[in-house]
């Protein structure tokens, strides 16, 4: 929701970045205020996922210029774990399997790392079970998933639900959902989207990165941005997503100046 005079959560100015010495982001600008849901659409290779990895602090992505300010602090100065503890959350396109590490232990370690940063007391295993059981309902997940290794043997939908469960526990100020709809059937998509909607409020912000309009039927964005060649080239409301769906990405190509 767009709230008048809401504080700025994320401010990105002229961001440029390389992956393996190849420029991917070429002057990205974006401003997100509390309460807002933004969607970034674009075809493969336009830089959407690179942007999400940079926000999360992936060491393989090299920022070459510009600035990223999160709640008034320079995000680029923080390590990945410091960003997570400060309230930046990335729901991965491909959540990683960690064999041998129990999901419950992993969630608790993560939850306590965030709480410690907030100056709150860490939660012992016994109390944490109550906390996590309460959040399981957000994504309609069975408690048996807690005893399994992190994401190991989970279906695509189960992995994405596990991501949203983590988001429910960490209560981030900025949640970046990277292609969360990829590989999901319609039921899983609905469950994941409803989970996200339950978590959205006037204090936090969501950045939904997606290739298709489909997800935006369930998570209604306040702003839709179109990314092209490492920049945001168009911004509109949810109607833009529908127009993009109808006309295809070739339409965006044709609007670009020749030779760039």
């Amino acid at each position: 929701m767009i709230v008048d005079n809401a504080p700025t959560v994320l401010s990105v100015k002229n961001l440029t970045a390389n992956v393996n010495d190849t420029p991917i982001l070429k002057g990205l600008k974006l401003e997100i205020k509390a309460g807002e849901i933004h969607a970034i659409m674009g075809r493969n290779g336009s830089g959407k996922s690179t942007f999400s990895k940079i926000l999360a602090g992936h060491p393989a992505y090299e920022v070459t210029g510009g600035e990223v300010v999160f709640e008034g602090q320079n995000l680029l100065e923080l390590e990945a774990e410091e960003r997570a503890r400060s309230g930046v959350f990335l729901a991965f396109q491909y959540p990683v399997e960690i064999p041998g590490v129990s999901n419950l232990d992993f969630l608790r370690a993560s939850y306590n790392a965030r709480r410690k940063h907030q100056g709150l007391e860490e939660v012992d295993p016994f109390d944490f079970e109550d906390v996590v059981r309460d959040r399981l309902q957000v994504v309609q997940m069975d408690a048996s998933f807690l005893d399994r290794s992190v994401n190991q043997g989970f279906s695509g939908g189960e992995k994405k639900r596990n991501e949203i469960l983590q988001m429910a526990l960490l209560e981030p100020t900025l949640a970046v959902l990277d292609e969360t709809d990829s590989g999901l059937d319609i039921d899983a998509l609905r469950i994941v989207a409803e989970g996200v909607n339950q978590l959205a409020n006037e204090k936090n912000a969501m950045l939904v990165i997606t290739h298709y309009q489909r997800l935006l039927d369930y998570i209604i964005p306040d702003y839709v941005h179109v990314m092209y060649d490492g920049k945001i080239v168009m911004t509109g409301d949810k109607e833009l997503a529908l127009e993009l769906e109808a006309k295809g990405y070739d339409w965006v190509d044709e609007l670009q100046p020749v030779g760039v």
């Binding site: 992936h58 774990e81 960003r83 990335l90 041998g100 370690a109 790392a113």
Partner: protein
Amino acid sequence: MGVDLSGLTDLNKADLDALTANSTPGDRAPGKAAQRSTYYAGLLSTVTAATPATDWELVQRLRSQAQAVAQEMALPSTRDEDWRFTDLSPMLAITLRAPALTTLEPAAIAAFAIPEAPVRVVVVNGRFAPELSNLAGLPEGVTIGSLMAVTDRERLASHLGQQGSQDAFSVLNTAGLNDGVVIELERRVQVAKPIHLLYVATADQPAISQPRCLVLAKAGDSHCTLIEDYVAIGQGGYCTNSVMEVVLGNCATLHHVRLQREGEQAIHIGKTAISQDWNSHYTLTTISQGASIARHSIDIAQTGPGTETILNGLSVATGEQLTDTHSSLVLSHPHGTADQLHKCIADDRGHTVFNGRVFVDHDAQQTNAAQLNRNLLLSPKARVDTKPQLEIIADDVKCSHGSTVSQLEETELFYCRSRGLDLATARSLLLDGFAGEILDRLPIASLRSTLASQIAQRINPGSSS
């Protein structure tokens, strides 16, 4: 690496000396061959001199046969295929003696107690210590005692010293065969609680102790868990040369846990020789984390159809440690299954070796065998050598084998960090996970947590690096 001499047939000794002097590690220098023979002969006389005479004909015969074979042997070198990656040269600098008689107070070994395993057989420096052992509470049909105290000697004739390959160390063990532990299970005995077989070395003397154990499970539906556990009191250098023989009758089930947590300066050589009759189930879970040089040889023969063998292993080498596991599994009857997962973690200048051979003979049709060795290299100076070997003669089998060597996955580390865990916590979480896959297979809960924290301490000193 050394010079390859395999194609050099016309060179004389002087040429060879010239070639090797400049470029080979000490272990392969020709001058060392004589030293190895002398050293081994010295060990042999040390061991035999300390072995009291016996009137037991079987033991007399086994000893003299082994002594005769040992005359022709030397301390293995890296020229021996079986010892290619395991350099025993550091042993040459240690003059090993027969262990002096040692008496320990029960308090000295209290820390090694495993709560789930009240029945405990304690062996100190290779000698059975009945005063430290607790054999109360054994169910009827289980007999545990000293080899030399066995009354029905005939029964052991076809089992003692009958298995496994004749390598220099097991021959040395048999040449000095004296004391030992015999565990016998009658048919249909269900031993509810694990039996703890605790080998204590008092690392106060450079001694060679030679533990020996024979486990006999008679045909019939018996079930037992055995924890073979090597520990040390003190920090000095010593050598353990152990042989464990297990004979499983048909339909017998044994879960064998083997914990090698010897002292830091120890040399540990161990042989586990198993024969499995039809429809028996044998599971071996080994955790090797101690000693400066450790070598464990596993020799398993399935001697009847429908037999199951499961091998779980975890080796951890940090500092300057070398940990070598050689396993050989021979399937020669139909419908056998074998499942082996061996994991190694090498940190600092640590070196792990895995050589696993699975042989599926002509008659072993419908065999289902899988072997996997996974290795984690944590430091640029650490080293992993791995050689999975699968040899199949039968034509109707399902077999797989493989080996992986990797570092901690960057994607996994980043995933953990993106959830607020710092690098050190992420590292130790992933390491716990890697080791946990094997530790979780231990049938004793308290061991899982104890060993997990012991291993974590080895790999992540201070967990801040």
